[in-house]
């Protein structure tokens, strides 16, 4: 039987708004914190998992960190990459291609925002994109198309979308490191926020923060010598559906139904077994679609499920317990940060936001435009 794989270290860089740092520096800070947490040294790391804007990223990162990994993976699937890295790292560790895997991300998503939004950033569309970009379909507009379709099919309301944002904000009030800590949000505030791409308003959209995170995985055997009690990877799955919105045949049913089924089967669990859920929430609609695709509620029921308080502190399915991308931190993607929060909950280090006796946590990463999903099941 294959060796069990576990997370033995987690770490975060400075986060929020840290303009006087570089993205590489944030990677190093996060990786250093995770190594310290695990009780490992840089030379112990022989597997590197990270992705960035172009093909040079993994080379640049290894060079900057002074690492010479025996196994390197830069699979770039947007916001799904980091959960998919866990699946790939587990396979690499089980087959001995590496012995200690570092997943690390860092970004100046907040400090570089102005530069990335310059008006000439809208480039001439090549390839299949020419059939979409010429019509002015913005990034948020893509998510809005799915939200509108969900509203049409199931009667989902703007108030239910707002409930997702408000729930995230409630968790953020229990997380002193959350960007919106101390800035409560009410449903009425969310519904009055400016429309960006109907039906999505500003309150339906994520933060952009600077920051970074790192996770270290190794085998159960290697973990016996390390500082921290291991958090086991019980299952992992990945799936992709489309890139262009017109090609998403099953819209708004997200391909998390496949990634979650694969992960849950491997872990031998079902949705009711999950104590804590972390789902990528760049936009409120992503949470609703995840809940349905992963089987936490029936199709079309997610709006009511959220309004019932199930995801909130004290609810049946505590979700995005640090405040998520909507209210805590979002350095370009969530992935690693979702896993860090899941590990904290499973270790019992959640502080004011600790879910009592959390045994099983699930992370769901979403990449592209609801295009790719990676699901990971973690347990004590």
């Amino acid at each position: 039987m294959a060796q069990r794989i576990c997370i033995v270290g987690i770490g975060e860089s400075a986060c929020g708004h840290v303009p006087d740092t570089t993205a590489l520096q944030l990677h190093q800070q996060a990786a250093h914190a995770a190594l310290t947490d695990a009780g490992l040294a840089p030379h112990d790391i022989d597997g590197l998992f990270s992705c960035g804007d172009d093909w040079t990223h993994p080379l640049q990162l290894a060079e900057y960190l002074g690492l010479h990994p025996a196994h390197i993976d830069s699979t770039q699937l947007g916001g799904a990459s980091w959960e998919i890295f866990v699946a790939h790292a587990a396979a690499a560790l089980q087959t001995g291609r590496c012995t200690a895997a570092l997943l690390v991300h860092g970004s100046r998503a907040r400090s570089d925002l102005r530069q990335q939004r310059r008006p000439d950033a809208w480039r001439a569309p090549r390839g299949p994109q020419q059939f979409e970009s010429a019509y002015g379909l913005t990034l948020i507009g893509k998510f809005a198309l799915a939200a509108r379709r969900h509203m049409h099919e199931y009667g989902t309301t703007s108030r239910q979308l707002a409930a997702v944002a408000v729930t995230a904000n409630r968790w953020a009030q229990r997380n002193p490191n959350a960007f919106h800590h101390g800035t409560p949000l009410r449903v009425e505030d969310a519904l009055r926020s400016p429309m960006i791409a109907d039906p999505l308003r500003r309150a339906d959209c994520c933060l952009r923060t600077d920051g970074g995170g790192a996770v270290i995985l190794t085998t159960e055997e290697r973990a016996r010598d390390l500082r921290r009690a291991p958090i086991f990877v019980l299952g992992a799955g990945e799936a992709v559906s489309h890139l262009h919105m017109s090609q998403w045949a099953e819209m708004p049913e997200m391909v998390a139904k496949d990634s979650a089924r694969r992960a849950f089967e491997e872990a031998g669990i079902a949705p009711p077994d999950v104590d804590v859920l972390q789902v990528y929430d760049a936009f409120t609609i992503m949470v609703l679609l995840s809940l349905e695709a992963m089987g936490f509620c029936g199709r079309g029921e997610s709006g009511w499920f959220v309004e019932s308080g199930a995801l909130a502190p004290g609810g049946a399915l505590p979700t995005n317990t640090d405040g998520g991308a909507l209210a805590a931190n979002h350095p370009g993607v969530r992935g690693v940060l979702s896993q860090i929060e899941a590990v904290r909950q499973l270790r019992g280090e959640g502080g004011d936001r600790q879910v009592p006796d959390a045994q099983v946590a699930v992370c769901n990463g979403i990449g592209g435009y609801l295009s790719a999903c990676g699901t990971v099941v973690l347990g004590r």
């Binding site: 950033a121 090549r126 390839g127 299949p128 059939f131 970009s133 002015g136 400016p194 109907d198 017109s246």
Partner: protein
């Protein structure tokens, strides 16, 4: 009102080998799609080979130009020209009568009246000498 003005066209389609017949058709006010003679399926955007069965025995056909709104969004924020000058505008996914789904603007329609299921028909706007952009408006005749 059109979502497009001939002010800043840096984002115009870069026409390539697979898309050239489509854009040539649009200039003649034909909405062309691909039909697979092997498996009988239609597809869009156009590929040389069929994405369902991978046969390259495909041909161009002209759509009737009618369909219904599958979903839509009204864009209220876009910093990029020419779109920032025409806010708010409608972007929609349309299911054409031939069973293909296309991304487009809906024109001659207010944000208050667009809705899922709305019948639409194609209209053409000449942007440059080489690009005529198919868009859709509320149907004056019923969708088939």
């Amino acid at each position: 009102m059109s979502a497009h003005k001939a002010t800043a066209w840096g984002y115009l389609p870069v026409i390539d080998a697979e898309s050239a017949p489509f854009w040539a058709g649009a200039q003649r006010h034909k909405f062309l799609f691909r039909h697979c003679n092997h498996c009988g399926r239609n597809h869009f955007y156009p590929r040389h080979a069929c994405p369902a069965c991978w046969s390259d025995n495909c041909e161009w056909r002209a759509a009737a130009g009618t369909g219904r709104v599958f979903s839509y969004t009204v864009i209220h924020q876009n910093d990029n020209l020419p779109f920032r000058d025409v806010l708010p505008y409608i972007v929609a996914l349309i299911d054409l009568s031939e069973g293909i789904r296309v991304t487009t603007n809906i024109v001659e329609c207010t944000p208050e009246t667009v809705h899922v299921g709305m019948p639409v028909e194609v209209v053409y706007e000449a942007i440059t000498d080489t690009v005529t952009l198919p868009q859709f408006r509320p149907a004056l005749r019923a969708a088939s």
